[in-house]
Symmetry: C2
Subunit: 461 residues, 2 copies
Amino acid sequence: MTTRSVPYKTYLSEDELPTHYYNVRADMKTDHAPILHPGTLQPVGVADMEPIFCTELAKQELNDSDRLIEIPERVRDFYRMYRPSPLIRAYYLEKALATPARIYYKYEGGNTSGSHKLNSAIAQAYYASEQGLAGLTTETGAGQWGTAMSMACSYFNLELLVYMVKISYEQKPYRKTVMQTYGAEVIPSPSDSTEVGRKMRAEFPDSNGSLGTAISEAVEVAVSSSDRRYVLGSVLNQVLIHQSVIGLEAKAALEKLDEYPDTVIGCAGGGSNLGGLMAPFMEDRLAGRTAPYFIAVEPASCPSLTRGRFAYDFCDTGQVTPLAKMYTLGHAFIPSANHAGGLRYHGMSPILSQLYHDGFLDEARAVEQSAVFAAAELFARTEGTLPAPESAHAIRAAIDEALKCKDSGEEKVILFGLTGNGYFDLLAYQQYNDGTMTDFIPTDEDLDRGFATIPSLPGIQ
Amino acid sequence: MTTRSVPYKTYLSEDELPTHYYNVRADMKTDHAPILHPGTLQPVGVADMEPIFCTELAKQELNDSDRLIEIPERVRDFYRMYRPSPLIRAYYLEKALATPARIYYKYEGGNTSGSHKLNSAIAQAYYASEQGLAGLTTETGAGQWGTAMSMACSYFNLELLVYMVKISYEQKPYRKTVMQTYGAEVIPSPSDSTEVGRKMRAEFPDSNGSLGTAISEAVEVAVSSSDRRYVLGSVLNQVLIHQSVIGLEAKAALEKLDEYPDTVIGCAGGGSNLGGLMAPFMEDRLAGRTAPYFIAVEPASCPSLTRGRFAYDFCDTGQVTPLAKMYTLGHAFIPSANHAGGLRYHGMSPILSQLYHDGFLDEARAVEQSAVFAAAELFARTEGTLPAPESAHAIRAAIDEALKCKDSGEEKVILFGLTGNGYFDLLAYQQYNDGTMTDFIPTDEDLDRGFATIPSLPGIQ
């Protein structure tokens, strides 16, 4: 253990922070399926999006030509507070597995928001600030994204209104506390502050809320105000652009160690983490160079890539957003309540969906949550860090790949994304410890009920 | 902001990890007041301590001659997972304060235990493992120490029994979950598993428990078994030895930046953090070289240094431990329940106490908690990291010192210890946000009740 060719942690210096985001869309040779206006079913332009998103972000959402987008200096300045994040060689996990594989992970949970979400939050807040907006609105379920946006808005002195799913608001009061400490206003959803909220409360007085309703409330407030806009933490093309900073740093750090991954693994809910981690390696693939084998890991209870359909669908349950072509389980699909943590989204980033459809993203793999928590526990005990359940999906796959190497004797280089820490998901760990955690795999009938909500759009592929 | 002489974060490389702990006691010219056996009132030797502590730790406890103690290779190997910890230049706080001071902080909250406690936990577990023990026992209040010991024992495959103060066990179920995830057994105290616990439950069936009772239970289990020992996370000389790694790293990182602190600030509950942070700078002071001005910051509600007495007292409420000469409020003193977070101990590390008594630790300062949380909020919003309430005591003093520099124009270099993150103390933040937090300063009568419990020892100074 004392003589190692590479250190446990590799940090880039602040000077080596990426200066530009990488926009993988510009290198995708596919015809990008346009985003469609929910009313006209015509491709949307920047002007259509401006009531919702600030202008620069609307442009990024539609940008399929610029490969590199400069990271604004003030965003880089904020990144210096918690980036570059460490690239860690999982020596202790390798030892426990007795694998010849060399396992690396990029750890994004070291900031107070606890996850990679902050990378995009600060960029979105910056563009809003530059546009002179007074504030932003968003929704949050488990609270990771709301916390990240609270920190970002605090930094740029923007007001932030967070619609928090009511059940989470009640069950996770401390997430609310962190957001409030950073100055955000947190409102349980459904609320009386919007039309959609009032309607929901009238119809379902006992509603626990849902992400779909919270999105609708946040969007309603944004579009009914001239100096507020809405922000979202995953799925969107703009978010994948910002998250490319993960992969760019990881690739640069590996180059310092004279390593290149054979396999890149990420958990996939909306796709922001895997999309960001794999972007610069996908650049190699798209250019026809040697590239890793890419694996997206999703929960068996919400299997959008492995069992979903590649089709146009609404991005939200409430059907107020544009339609995107993506792998989807149907916008009304809601994963079983016994599914822990995030990765509950019915669809998948259009970029990731297209790459998977075109065969560039090599494999999607669904894993059950008891196997995921077993991997999480082993990781915590060997590598020290308690992982977020979302991240543990990637750990599960990384362990399985490393065990294959043990059988085959291959010294593969495996890179995975450790997107966050597990501090705020301890209820699920408790269930795992208690033996009360159960797995859930939707039946074909369950899926069919979701698929039935995918809109039929005559003439549109 | 773009041209800076020093980076935001400075990391030593793994090769620069300290190889030896520094034992400041060996350089203290004072006659060390011996630890006294509670029965005989005679100075204790290693043999007296061996039923409680493992042998190597008992030796460290009494060691006042060896300046340097080698850090075992397996402990250094574990340190590589989360150390060297970053030395951070508080550019954003400086800017918010408009101070000419240069503020640095050593951040110890980046590991899963969330605090500096892990530095000593892993060392204590190592020596227990080397001695061939089966397991360890300890107590925990808020849970930081119990979590750190759980991680350490998991690493060395030692069983761990944690007596957790009952009210914390009930109010902080997630701390328990983390400990269990690392394989520890967590028992609410008072329990039926010990004599002292059963007695307490019989007398006070509704007891919420106390740290004093939990210590007594953990010690009872340890001494009644041949292959278990007891471990403690602060106050002890051995703990300050291990925590010197904080100061050694901080000093080395500052040397790289060609800086030397004018002021060193740490929060002080039992003294482990400040003792560790200041050790190598205190070495300079004790050798008559230029040295910083040292400030210990404690809560006004538990003012052992500022209002306590320098006297022999029991280290625990239950009077089962040896007596140490230290600043104490009396072993029966219990701070007001409205005091948030840690720093609730009635006494103070004997090393820190002696240094303060001898004038080497320059100043002790008591601060009220509403002022502490105001500092915590400002810090969180400017520097990103949500601090533990304990750490925020040091932030308060650092801000006050920096504001003095603003008035005087002095460009002082201020170093403080940020011992942990605030993830598990959000109830207190919530009270601060809600405006329900109150301050509490004990009256002279309150203190007199505590002082009355300091034992009168004829013939012993």
